[in-house]
């Protein structure tokens, strides 16, 4: 199983991937009505038919766990259990899904229409579907799709309906409920709604976790949720959130189910519906609250072309096999199972590891579109680049990516220049070919406000970056090794590794690095660079080879925006936040600082304006104890250790630009 090899440096190009089939093709040739009304008889887990929504609620309310928590809360608060029970009923009503086949059929019809207009193709690996079908019959299944768009879960249910598989119940954010009718319809197509934060609310937690666990234990339906917790606005994978993962694993820890199958699913979009929305959001234009009318406005996008979608169902991963020999489940033996118990540390670590592992499995099966390669080249030569040079570079990058194991969706039998040209025309919202120069689009606003201009420009850059970001997971390990080799100014392996570890720690929220796997990551990076002839590995030394020059400079430029962005954050903290900054003000303050630096020309990359980057940087600094949070007057304040922050900035700044001397010496 792929999972076993996630970290071992074996030749990634040898990885066998399934072929894709376009499911829209049939839709274009036959009746959508018939399709929506066709006989739907999915295989079931253990032959358990889906349970009525009302019965499910009843089961949850009567569960020992919920009753116990209600009793406890009643004792603590003095409130009568009946009142708390009422409250529980309300919470559950707000939360529960209410899967109705008729609504699913309605969606099947509507989505067929919509998808056919929006997308050229929706391609699915059918072997993955077959594996999933088998898995569903054996053990409870948890579907773990990547999250790049609102479309994700509609798309997934649509695909499962198409292949006659059990429809999942989906954990969704409460914000959807704001959209009145749509919210209820989503509920009837299997969504259940959870509040974004319910930190200390024990009742809510009990109901929510019991609700999920009941569905899992009984095997009513596959459970689907997004490990990343929210849509990734940057199109990079987000570090996994562990709350729901913990919940779905608990029935296994407690022996209530024999096993649970975790199915990573990678959904890759050639062009993301929300691309510009994300960019503005990252720049600080507040996210428009999801509303039905907003969705209707989105209708105008229906006339646009969003290319292809690839949905890859990964191998189901057996939780039991993952746990084998790693953890002891006997911690559950001494307390009745309905009483919530804080799992020991090794369980927490285990769940965390699995979270990372699953995200990496999602990444592994992402499909890279040619545009991603184009954007990666283009963004290094902003604001424009010669089309021939761009094409040449794109091919070079494609070959490099493929040799590093990327699954690139490069059409056969079409000339390279055509492929590039059609990518460019698909992404007319970002670039245009003006007389042989591929140029980034800037919405011309008649504003003399420099800041406005900067933001407009930055929005397009961030859009472009969001495509480049889709390939970073392929390169991040070799790139950080390459940067380390280049920056350390020594060929000693230990020194290179220690710089690599530093970068890995600093970027631990920016990219997905499984905790505790620094050595494996380093080895993987070295292996890939060696394979590309970029470095030579000796016993105690690592040497850059002549041929490695191009790759190394490319990697340095590729990750430069992050390095620079983190330096800006550090500088901000050390120059302007010495007294501390409240958590709420942090993003806008850094942004203001960065705008100043950009306008003054001190820095070049607009990506520093991305609030995602700013937050990731802070999170890493907090984790490394370079900053810490304190509570002052009801506010969370970030305090800075100036020396440490300066040292991070300096370390990041070591020899950023390629220097001939170093290369010559090596």
């Amino acid at each position: 199983m792929a999972s076993e090899n996630a970290y071992s440096p074996q030749d990634p190009t040898l990885k066998k991937r399934d072929d894709f089939e376009d499911i829209l093709e049939e839709r274009r040739n036959s009746s959508d009505v018939k399709y929506a009304l066709r006989c739907y008889t999915p295989v079931l887990y253990n032959g358990v038919p889906p349970c009525k929504a009302s019965l499910l609620k009843h089961t949850v309310l009567k569960s020992d766990h919920v009753l116990f928590v209600i009793q406890q809360l009643s004792k603590e608060s003095g409130e009568s259990p009946e009142i708390i029970h009422e409250e529980a009923v309300e919470i559950l009503d707000e939360m529960a899904q209410n899967l109705k086949l008729s609504v699913v059929r309605f969606f099947a019809f509507m989505l067929s229409k919509a998808f056919k207009t929006l997308f050229q193709r929706v391609r699915v690996n059918e072997e993955g579907i077959q594996r999933l079908q088998q898995a569903i019959q054996q053990y409870p299944v948890v579907l773990l799709p990547s999250h790049r768009s609102y479309i994700d879960f509609l798309m997934l249910s649509y695909v499962l309906y198409t292949y006659d598989l059990s429809l999942p119940v989906i954990a969704s954010g409460m914000d959807f409920l704001g959209m009145k009718i749509v919210g209820e319809m989503l509920r009837m197509s299997g969504a259940f709604f959870i509040r974004r934060s319910f930190g200390g609310d024990k009742l809510y937690w009990a109901l929510f976790s019991e609700y999920v666990k009941t569905m899992l234990r009984k095997g009513y339906a596959p459970i689907e949720f997004f490990l990343e917790g929210t849509r990734s606005r940057t199109c990079k994978s987000l570090v996994p959130k562990l709350g729901l993962l913990n919940i779905v694993m608990e029935p296994f820890f407690k022996g209530e189910v024999f096993d649970v199958s975790l199915v990573p699913i990678s959904i890759s979009y050639e062009r993301i519906l929300e691309e510009s929305l994300y960019a503005y959001e990252l720049l600080g234009v507040p996210k428009p609250k999801e509303s039905t009318s907003g969705l209707l406005k989105a209708r105008k996008i229906l006339s646009d072309d969003f290319g292809s979608i690839h949905v890859y169902f990964g191998h189901p991963v057996s939780l039991r096999s993952l746990a084998q020999g790693k953890i002891s489940r006997s911690y559950c033996n001494l307390i009745p199972r309905h009483i919530p118990v804080k799992p020991p540390k090794d369980i927490f670590t285990f769940v965390n590891d699995i979270g990372y592992k699953m995200v990496r499995l999602q990444q592994e099966n992402m499909v890279i579109s040619p545009w991603v390669l184009v954007a990666s080249i283009l963004i290094q030569s902003l604001p424009q680049i010669d089309i021939n040079h761009l094409t040449e570079q794109t091919v070079w990058l494609r070959n490099l990516a493929q040799s590093f194991g990327a699954s690139v969706d490069w059409p056969d039998h079409i000339s390279v220049s055509k492929v590039v040209a059609s990518s460019i025309s698909l992404h007319h919202s970002i670039v245009r070919n003006i007389g042989g120069r591929v140029t980034l689009i800037e919405e011309k606003q008649e504003s003399s406000n420099l800041e406005h201009q900067l933001f407009n420009y930055a929005a397009t850059v961030l859009m472009c970056a969001s495509y480049r970001n889709q390939i970073l997971h392929i390169f991040v390990r070799p790139a950080l090794v390459a940067i380390s080799v280049h920056s350390v100014g020594s060929s000693r392996k230990e020194e290179i590794f220690s710089y690599f570890s530093f970068l890995r720690d600093i970027f631990s929220y920016e990219f997905i690095f499984a905790p505790g796997h620094a050595i494996q990551d380093f080895e993987e990076g070295c292996y890939l660079l060696m394979k590309a002839d970029a470095i030579q590995i000796l016993k105690t030394d690592i040497l850059l080879s002549e041929r490695g020059h191009k790759i190394v400079s490319f990697f340095i430029s590729m990750f430069q925006p992050f390095v620079e962005g983190y330096q800006v954050v550090c500088r901000y903290l050390s120059e302007e936040a010495l007294e501390g900054v409240t958590e709420n003000q942090y993003v806008s303050a850094v942004r203001k600082f960065a705008v100043k630096r950009l306008l003054s020309g001190a820095i070049k990359s607009c990506e520093v304006l991305s609030s995602d980057l700013q937050k990731n940087a802070l999170a890493a600094l907090l984790k490394l104890n370079i900053c810490r949070k304190t509570k002052e007057m009801e506010q969370v304040v970030v305090k800075v250790n100036r020396t440490a922050v300066n040292s991070v900035e300096d370390t990041l700044g070591r020899k950023l630009t390629p220097q001939k001397t170093t290369l010559a010496r090596l």
């Binding site: 022996g255 209530e256 489940r329 006997s330 559950c332 033996n333 009745p336 199972r337």
Partner: protein, 634 residues
């Protein structure tokens, strides 16, 4: 003490009843009615062998004269496929003896993918050249001779005390070999002779391994391969007298080497019984029960061994341990009996035991209930336990075991019976809508005075009805118990045709029973697949005992090993995986089989470091030179 081995081998039976019936015919006056049907018979049949051996007890010094040397039970009783290819049980000792079991072959072939064409017969005789030469301690021997206690270093005597009844042990007898066997066998006749032997062993630094009935299923009798000292097997079988019966206090004082069926038979003569009926009671000894913390089928009425024992006498290297009185309960610090019970022969030899006795019950009745599925069945047993109205025995077999039981139906005598059977089946599956692949059966045994039994029976059936249970007759109940006692004989049959298997047990809180059963069975199936077993295994369980706070669960596991190079190794890996699964699901390391050497790797986890330390310090004080060196437990 006849410690270790003995007691509890999971699979045996009940036998008692069947044998009893036969014997009852011979021995008892017809007037006593069914009162004594409960006890195992010290069967009259075996008296010949005993007579030959010149002993009063059932088991002669030369065990091989009466018992199989390479399998379970009596030499004359075994399953065979006769010339017509039908299964048949030979001999005359059991109710099933001489009967043809028409359904067994098909079940056997279908369940295991086995075939009568593919045989794996055992070797016909012991390969004596395989046996390591005895390490004899001449000084010890000289002193022993002076005591006139009988002893032997014949190869057969030694090897038949080198093993219990674990699969790997029987397999070794059939086609493998033992690395280490006892060097000498001694047969003390009394407490004082045991004292002499232990004193001599201490004096000459000789290792002593107590041997009772030899029914251990925990590798407890295996000799440590690296034991360099001379190993003496102390066979308690000749210490088999009831020394006195105290009718005022309802106790009996008995030598620890007595086997279960003899104890019951002899007490029956005076109108009493102990009611302790581990499935191994045909062969296991009182001392072995004490040493392993045995459990009896009818513990709901009589209690387990720890409830039955009033006084224990044990010879240790430090001297004799016993209490000063026979008070029924004491608050005198930790109960020293609990150092002895479960000590598995590591501290000394139990020589004499005072045990509670009861008047033989007037009336006994089997029963059975069919449930639509295992979940309902478990819920019913839980309710019965809650109301504390469990009959003498109540057991719930899962579907696979129910079908197994059915395969053991003897040829029906008349068309009428078979018609009735068909009718019953129709009623349950068609009329009541039970799925034949889901339904499961609880077997019941009631005992007491007639009126109370009938009343009790009604109470239990009423509870069962609430859980969808249908009364399914005495016959089904009785056959259920039969399965327990023939299972070990059946294993020998399987081993003739590439099928190996074993049973193991655990105890678990009520709320985890279902999860544990499902997960362990599934784990076995999955492990078999992963280890290249070509046919799905038999993986089945039953709930065999109910307690206030939980239940005892018993698993059978067997598979066809054709195509596997090292079946015993594969088997052991799977059994270990199953045990790990049990522990992960909140089950105990053992309910009554004990730890021995088979399960000692998990003991530390089971009882904590401090717990191990406590046991070690007791061992250190009682037996500093490790005279009782079987290395069980620690």
């Amino acid at each position: 003490m006849a410690s270790d081995m003995s007691s509890s081998k999971g699979e045996r039976p009940q036998t008692a009843q069947y044998r009893l019936r036969i014997i009852a015919g011979h021995l008892q006056s017809p007037g006593r009615v069914s009162a004594n049907e409960c006890k195992g018979e010290a069967s009259s049949t075996s008296s010949t062998a005993a007579a030959n051996a010149g002993q009063s007890g059932t088991i002669p010094r030369r065990r091989q004269d009466l018992l199989k040397w390479n399998g379970w039970g009596y030499s004359d009783s075994k399953f065979i496929f006769n010339k017509k290819g039908q299964a048949e049980f030979t001999g005359k000792r059991y109710r099933l003896s001489g009967m043809v079991l028409p359904a067994l072959r098909e079940w056997f072939e279908k369940t295991f993918g086995a075939s009568l064409e593919h045989k794996t017969p055992p070797r016909s005789a012991l390969n004596t050249s395989d046996i390591p030469a005895p390490i004899l301690n001449e000084d010890f021997l000289d002193d022993l001779k002076a005591t006139k206690i009988p002893f032997s270093h014949e190869i057969e005597d030694r090897i038949f005390r080198a093993h219990g009844h674990c699969l790997h042990e029987i397999f070794a007898l059939r086609e493998g070999k033992f690395e280490r066997v006892p060097d000498l066998v001694v047969w003390p006749n009394s407490h004082s002779e045991v004292e002499k032997i232990v004193n001599l062993a201490c004096k000459h630094n000789v290792c002593v391994i107590p041997f009772g009935g030899g029914t251990s299923v925990s590798s407890a009798l295996e000799c440590p391969p690296d034991e360099k000292r001379s190993i003496v097997s102390l066979d308690t079988s000749q210490m088999n007298r009831i020394l006195w019966i105290d009718e005022k206090n309802l106790t009996a004082h008995v030598e620890a080497g007595i086997i279960g069926q003899d104890l019951e038979r002899l007490l029956n003569v005076s109108g009493y019984c102990t009611g302790h009926e581990p499935d191994s009671m045909e062969f296991s000894t009182l001392g072995g029960w004490v040493a392993t913390r045995a459990s009896g089928m009818k513990k709901n009425i009589y209690g387990n061994i720890e409830d039955l024992v009033v006084h224990i006498r044990m010879v240790t290297p430090r001297g004799v341990i016993e209490k000063s009185c026979q008070g029924p309960r004491m608050s005198t610090g930790p109960d020293v009996h609990h150092f002895i019970m479960g000590s598995e022969g590591t501290l000394g030899v139990v020589t004499e035991v005072t045990i509670k006795i009861r008047p033989v019950p007037e009336y006994q009745k089997y029963g059975s209930v069919v449930f639509p599925n295992f979940e309902q069945g478990v819920a019913c047993l839980r309710e019965v336990a809650k109301q504390r109205c469990a009959p003498a025995s109540i057991r719930l077999m899962d579907n696979a075991q129910f079908q197994f039981g059915h395969a053991l139906k003897p040829q029906v005598a008349s068309i009428f019976t078979s018609f009735l059977d068909g009718l019953k089946k129709f009623y349950i599956t068609k009329f009541k809508g039970f799925d034949p692949n889901q339904l499961c059966v609880a077997t019941l045994l009631f005992e007491g005075d007639r009126e109370k039994v009938l009343q009790h029976e009604k109470q239990v059936y009423d509870i069962a009805a609430k859980f969808g249970g249908l009364a399914a007759g005495e016959d089904n109940g009785q056959r259920g118990y039969m399965l327990t006692f023939v299972i070990a004989y059946l294993r020998d049959l399987g081993m003739d045709f590439y099928v190996i298997g074993e049973s193991f047990e655990t105890s678990v809180p009520w709320d985890r029973v279902l999860d544990l059963c499902r997960n362990v069975k599934e784990r076995i199936v999955r492990e078999c697949k992963e280890r290249g077993v070509q046919f799905p295994p038999l993986s089945t369980c039953r709930v065999t005992q109910t307690y206030d706070a939980g239940a005892c669960v018993y698993f059978y596991f067997a598979f066809n090993y054709r195509g596997i190079a090292d079946p015993i190794h594969v088997y052991e890996q799977i059994e270990n995986a199953a045990r790990e699964e049990i522990l992960a699901n909140g089950g105990s390391l053992s309910h009554h089989h004990g730890v021995g050497k088979l399960r000692k790797r998990w003991l530390q986890e089971a009882i904590s470091d401090v717990g191990i330390g406590m046991l070690k310090s007791v061992k250190q004080y009682v037996d500093p030179n490790n005279i009782f060196g079987n290395r069980n437990l620690l």
